[in-house]
């Protein structure tokens, strides 16, 4: 978008209103693709009219009215064209919906529509990549270009992903609704997974030059906060938000002056973002109060909280962290969790105990190409004074690592082990 003050203001209004607009329209037309087109049409109208007429007092209502009016006009034209071919049933139905006064919007909280839209864009019928792209586009208000830049793919790839995702949702007749009690747990997990994927891509970029991409973390945090506002009784929603806030509190401390990664042990804890720490700890408390048994995100948040509360690595409650990892490992059976548990065991009970655990993981096929396995093993061997072996592990880790900055850190650690 051009950078005139009005255009920047329209941009801001769009960011605030687009999710609600698309969600409200999806409820009316039962088709997310049609709804997004209508919303885009309204945006085009705003870009034409607002620079001359000024921004209306209630821009959200203006966009909704305009989207519906333009949608009705477009449908009428199509119905008129297609009448000869008798293909009008579906269009007529949508037209009927649009021409009715929208009673539901008054009775129903519009926010419920946003929640329904989240469950739609994170529906398991879609691939992970498609869920991420569609959620960022429809709920985060990001442009295709912004999504492409964030995930280091081309704009046309993202466009295709989104088009295909919308088609899949239509073909699978995915309903616009909050899932019922019986499947709610699984579906909430699917939503949380999408949000955490976005966060992680920002927190520890898997590829590219930069070690972190804070803007992507901000987008994930915003989605997490929206979800926590919409589902205040779901413990894992608060658990994930708490986890992200606690991790994000360390963002600026985990990048050095030249963009290089700084490990937790070496971070200047005064540079942590204490507003986020406080929010994260409060959110964790809320998640724990709502939980029966703690879920995986709440457990991870509890681990992050142990770090957030500690004044230094030495003063960290590593024994408690090991216990929390025990719970997480039992819940997930994930070898990556086992790997992190080995780090905690090393800190709590010494490197010998940690090495024993690591070596029991060495044959796991899921970790075969995972750079953190040799990286952790290198760290433990270094603590044991077995520097030649540590050096080789760090080199191996660097070879497996796709992120340029992180690879640099691993190579410098290898170098430091050279006798």
């Amino acid at each position: 978008m051009t950078a005139s003050p009005t255009h920047r203001a329209i941009d801001a209004v769009w960011r605030i209103e687009s999710a609600r607009l698309i969600a409200g329209l999806t409820r009316l037309v039962r088709n997310v693709s049609v709804a997004e087109d209508m919303a885009q049409d309204a945006l085009v109208a705003a870009l034409e009219q607002w620079p001359q007429d000024g921004i209306p007092d209630n821009p959200g209502a203006w966009l909704m009215t305009t989207a519906k009016r333009r949608g009705i006009d477009a449908l009428r034209r199509r119905v008129a064209l297609e009448r000869k071919q008798e293909l009008i049933g579906h269009e007529l139905q949508i037209l009927g919906e649009l021409e009715q006064p929208d009673l539901a919007a008054e009775v129903d909280d519009v926010q419920d529509d946003v929640l329904r839209l989240i469950f739609m864009t994170c529906h398991p019928v879609l691939s992970r990549d498609a869920r991420v792209a569609l959620t960022l586009r429809l709920l985060g208000g990001l442009s295709t270009t912004e999504i492409a830049r964030a995930f280091l793919v081309s704009g046309s790839t993202v466009t295709q992903r989104i088009v295909r995702a919308k088609r899949t949702l239509g073909e699978a007749r995915v309903p616009f609704e909050v899932p019922g009690r019986d499947e709610l747990g699984d579906r909430v997990s699917a939503v949380l997974e999408v949000i955490y994927l976005v966060f992680n891509e920002g927190y520890a970029a898997t590829g590219g030059e930069q070690w972190t991409r804070p803007v992507l973390c901000q987008d994930a945090l915003r989605l997490g906060r929206i979800l926590a506002g919409l589902m205040p009784r779901e413990p894992e929603v608060h658990g994930l938000l708490s986890l992200m806030e606690l991790q994000a509190s360390r963002l600026r401390a985990r990048v050095g002056p030249d963009g290089e990664p700084v490990r937790l042990a070496d971070q200047d804890r005064a540079r942590w973002d204490h507003l986020l720490v406080q929010r994260g700890l409060t959110g964790l408390q809320r998640a724990e109060e709502l939980s029966g048994a703690l879920g995986p995100y709440t457990l991870q948040a509890a681990i992050a909280a142990c770090h957030a509360r500690a004044r230094s690595v030495e003063q960290t409650d590593w024994v408690r962290i090991v216990a929390l990892y025990d719970g997480l490992a039992a819940l997930t059976g994930s070898p990556v969790v086992e790997l992190n548990r080995a780090v905690a065991v090393t800190m709590a009970f010494g490197p010998e105990a940690g090495l024993e655990l690591i070596d029991s993981l060495a044959g796991d096929p899921a970790l075969r190409d995972y750079h953190l396995l040799p990286s952790v093993r290198g760290d433990i061997l270094e603590r044991l004074g077995r520097l030649t072996e540590a050096h080789d592990e760090f080199v191996r880790a660097a070879d497996l690592c796709a992120n340029v900055s992180e690879r640099g850190l691993l190579l410098s650690r290898a170098l430091a082990c050279n006798p």
Binding site: P5, R8, A9, D11, A12, V13, R15, I16, P59, Q111, V114, Q218, L221, R222, L223, G224, R225, I226, G229, L230, R252, P257, R271, L275, R279
Partner: protein
């Protein structure tokens, strides 16, 4: 980007008068909207300046001045901290706030990122 919105006091606020139920409900609704939009990070109301103190610095001398202070309009009565994508977004939100009227001016300030200061330390 993080923003702080500074809400000024008024003679009624300074006299210790609590907001009406209707006002509280209107502000509560706006705050809820901010939370559900993922914008709100923190919000607090302050006590009137009758409970405030100032410390005056003069060379090595420190003088404590107890409230209340005059110029009610220049005193802060509360604040919001918001996370927004741009200053324009924060302005859009602020324009939607209820209760402010009669020429009241509400100030919006971008919170400085510590990184902006770090260059000075090198």
């Amino acid at each position: 980007m993080r923003f702080m919105v500074l809400v000024p006091g008024s003679p009624e606020f300074e006299s210790g008068e609590l907001p009406s139920k209707g006002d509280l409900e209107a502000m509560g609704k706006f705050n809820e909207e901010l939370v559900k939009a993922g914008v709100m990070l923190a919000a607090d109301g302050l006590h009137p300046s009758s409970k405030a103190a100032r410390v005056r610095f003069d060379g090595r001398e420190r003088t404590v001045i107890d409230g209340p202070f005059t110029e009610a309009k220049e005193l802060v009565a509360g604040y919001w901290i918001w996370e927004c994508a741009s200053q324009e977004e924060a302005i859009e939100w602020l324009k939607r706030a209820p209760l402010f009227d009669g020429g009241m001016e509400i100030e919006l300030r971008q919170i400085m990122d510590p990184e902006e200061l770090e260059g000075q330390l090198k």
